[in-house]
């Protein structure tokens, strides 16, 4: 259903959002094309949700320009919303109704005929593995099930763009993997996904391309592996020396790495070969309580760009 032309589905230039004197989004440029999986990565308060609400055509923009599916949300809000699916950060399900009724009434809001909504309800319940819960009250569902129901609900109008605001925040690891699996299937079907997250593993798994946001601005943009290549090293050696010790050790190992980050509980050595670096640390008579080698992640990219961690 994507636009035949090659125009971006979402195009923002100098997009701003303020609440009184507080500027949540301070001039961002974003383009999302059909079939892409696009992410906004950043810590809480980076302006991701405000951006998503503007893209969802529910929050008026404060400055810049925004076009969704070629339309202006200030003028064509209802037409835009008719063609996008929204999975908000907080569940907005009707907890007094059962699972299927939640889907059904939502489909009716889009003006779909009753028979068609009914058909889609069955398909979507199957897709999110909630068929056997169709008659259950929403308040009886687990967090992961509610999330899947919200995702099903956001697909009832067969949207051109699916917006997911922190799709797995608050879910336990197992429930997250089920949600990721479903989202990955949608991605493979060619659905354009736009998501926000403060989990770097989520961004790496689901996003073809992402922007890193911090304090209302975009600080980097690219594919996850490109960002890691540009802003970090291949590997990271993590060393733990005990409380208060880490900052004293840092100068002694500085020359072993491209860069050293001192975190409250550990040292990060940005290197190409982690094992080799750790061996050299030991050669110098330094004896960390714990050491490990891992690949660089988007977390490291964020740390490099902002000097802060994603999840605080």
């Amino acid at each position: 259903m994507a636009d035949a032309s090659n125009d971006p589905l979402i195009q923002a230039e100098g997009l701003r959002k303020s609440f009184g004197s507080f500027e949540a989004v301070r001039g961002i440029d974003v383009q999302v094309r059909a079939g892409e999986s696009f992410g906004f990565l950043g810590p809480n308060g980076a302006g991701k949700s405000s951006t998503m609400r503007m893209i969802a055509a529910v929050s008026p923009i404060s400055g810049g320009t925004l076009r969704i599916l070629g339309m202006d949300p200030a003028i064509d809000g209802p037409s835009i919303r008719a063609r996008i699916g929204v999975c908000p950060q907080e569940d907005t399900l009707d907890t007094e109704l059962n699972v299927r009724d939640n889907l059904y009434i939502y489909g009716r809001y889009f003006g779909l005929p009753r028979a068609e909504v009914s058909k889609r309800c069955d398909e979507l319940l199957e897709f999110v593995q909630l068929t056997d819960k169709a008659k259950a009250k929403v308040e009886m569902l687990s967090g992961g099930m509610k999330r899947r129901l919200t995702i099903a609900r956001s697909l009832i109008n067969r949207p051109d763009i699916l917006l997911l605001d922190e799709p797995t925040t608050g879910l336990d690891p197992q429930a997250r993997h089920v949600v990721w699996d479903r989202l990955f299937r949608l991605k493979q079907q060619g659905v354009t996904l736009v998501l926000t997250t403060h989990y770097m593993d989520e961004a790496e798994q689901l996003c073809d391309r992402l922007v890193v946001m911090d304090q209302g601005v975009i600080v980097a943009e690219g594919a996850p592996h490109e960002l890691i290549r540009s802003y970090s090293t291949r590997e990271v050696a993590e060393l733990r020396f005990g409380i208060g010790e880490n900052e004293h050790v840092a100068p002694k190992v500085e020359d072993l790495a491209d860069r050293v980050e001192v975190l409250p509980d550990r040292l990060l050595l940005y290197v190409d070969n982690g094992e080799e670096a750790i061996a050299k640390v030991h050669e110098r008579g330094l004896d960390p309580i714990m050491s490990l080698v891992r690949r660089s992640t988007l977390e490291d990219v964020f740390l490099r760009l902002t000097g802060r961690t994603l999840v605080d």
Partner: protein, 260 residues
């Protein structure tokens, strides 16, 4: 402000929501008027031997108080559907946020909610009037039918204003003020249970300025078949203006709250 042209899409929502509770609500719709009329009309009314000239044209206290109770019931039904229930939708369940992510807009949400409240008022007062009819309290059949439609107008006027009030509230604490200083004084002093002419002239004017009195007066004149055209026109105009202002205010308050 856009028009609520998509509101009909929400009919299924209200139907499904109502289907869950209609049995309980129907039973209470029958019981409430019965309890009222027995307690207030028959038992209490049995002690009241007022001069019929002072009962605004009613021949008995029962006939006097019945239309008053109908209008008062309309008001309390509205409050039940536009205070905590609405707060739940906006704030606690956030289902309004979910609705606004679809093509629906704030005017659709409000129009459909007000439509549902008027439907409920119609059902509750319809049953109320049917239960009261055998007590011989309605003099004029056409007047009684007209009085039924007055309840819908009275319901809309209250619903629009209380909706607007609730739409802007941060939390539910203001509801107790609304009930204590709005609903209860109006219920007691707007002429439902005694003629407002019993009050001193200043308080009488004050009572006649309340929305409920417009409904009480209209309902009573109609069911007794003694309509004063001047007063009736004033009462209807009052309720129409109140509906329009409330509706406009509700749109403004809910938009400010949810479209940020």
């Amino acid at each position: 402000m856009s028009t609520p042209n998509l509101a009909p899409r929400m009919i299924d929502y209200w139907a499904i929501t109502y289907k869950r509770t209609y049995k309980a609500s129907l039973i209470s719709s029958f019981l409430t008027p019965l309890l009222y009329i027995v307690a207030m009309g028959v038992l209490l009314g049995g002690f009241i031997e007022g001069d019929p000239a002072k009962l605004e044209g009613a021949t008995t206290y029962l006939a006097f108080v019945a239309p008053g109770m109908v209008a008062a019931q309309t008001m309390t039904t509205v409050f039940g559907h536009t205070t905590y229930m609405l707060m739940g939708m906006i704030k606690w369940n956030k289902i309004h946020d979910g609705m606004l992510a679809t093509p629906l807009g704030v005017p659709d949400l409000i129009a459909s909610h007000l439509g549902f409240v008027v439907f409920r008022v119609g059902l509750v007062t319809g049953v109320f009037m049917l239960v009261m009819a055998p007590f011989g309290v309605f003099e004029s059949v056409t007047g009684t039918i007209a009085a039924f439609f007055v309840q819908l107008l009275l319901g809309l006027a209250f619903a629009a204003c209380v909706y607007a009030f609730t739409a802007g509230l941060k939390d539910e604490s203001a509801f107790s003020l609304l009930f204590r200083f709005g609903l209860i004084p109006m219920f007691l002093f707007s002429g439902a249970f005694f003629p407002v002419s019993n009050l001193n002239p200043v308080l009488e004017r004050l009572a006649q300025a309340t929305p409920l009195w417009q409904g009480v007066n209209l309902t009573r004149m109609l069911v007794l078949g003694q309509v004063d055209t001047g007063w009736a026109t004033f009462n209807v105009a009052y309720l129409l203006v109140m509906s329009a202002i409330g509706w406009w205010w509700a749109n403004r308050r809910l938009t400010r709250r949810l479209v940020t």
